[in-house]
Symmetry: C2
Subunit: 150 residues, 2 copies
Amino acid sequence: MSTPTPAEALGPVVTAIDHVGFAVRDLDEAVAFYGRAFGLPLLHEEVNEEQGVREAMVGIGDSAIQLLAPLRPDSPIGKFLERNGEGIQQVAFRVSDIDVAADRLRAAGLRLLYDVPKRGTADSRVNFVHPKDCGGVLVELVEPAAGAHH
Amino acid sequence: MSTPTPAEALGPVVTAIDHVGFAVRDLDEAVAFYGRAFGLPLLHEEVNEEQGVREAMVGIGDSAIQLLAPLRPDSPIGKFLERNGEGIQQVAFRVSDIDVAADRLRAAGLRLLYDVPKRGTADSRVNFVHPKDCGGVLVELVEPAAGAHH
Ligand SMILES: [Co+2]
Ligand SMILES: [Co+2]
């Protein structure tokens, strides 16, 4: 047997698509729409004052669609809506350990938006890869809270 | 016991996020990047002449990232790149039965891009919800081929 590479020794860090984030103008309307049209159940709703967002998770299999509505026009989602209108804003990769994931990405030359992870939805720990280092895609990293249903 | 609604009787039709599609300029470079940075393995690669696309699926959990590069500038992905640059272009919901899904969506007042499903990646059957009826999001419906690993 050959010596495993570091990636083989540590095992996969990215485990699933945690969620895909859609920027919406009206959160309640969007939650109702994805329930009515696609049968996606509301799992969770919260306000994140720091991010300037009111958000809801609607379930799809073991993943979710994160619906994101701005609390104020100068928030990241407010600016996204101003620039692009409603649409897909981010994709979130679920990771088993966000510190290991961040170290590996930095070692691969990618910039992350935060020096240390921030609190995300439902007490998860999150960070973001800089879209300029990731083909224009805003990739979020999510380590779910211990005891979360994922 | 109360009489089930039609949705309860038929069970959920949308079962998972099948894939998220990223428009890229260079397919080989993108496949190498998602392998190196995120450890996502190449599952499948094909050319779809009708759609004017060369594409690859890289695996993430039970889902995939679909990397889409244009065969010609006037293809849908070519036009997307011209308008938006590289980035997230679509999200695909896996469905247990694409004909049932299409009927329900039309009954809910949503327009689909094709009258009948077309052949998608790896002999799946696919259709798309019109983004104007879906908050600016291009939602693909995918019924995997019988015997596909999903
Ligand atoms: Co998110
Ligand atoms: Co697709």
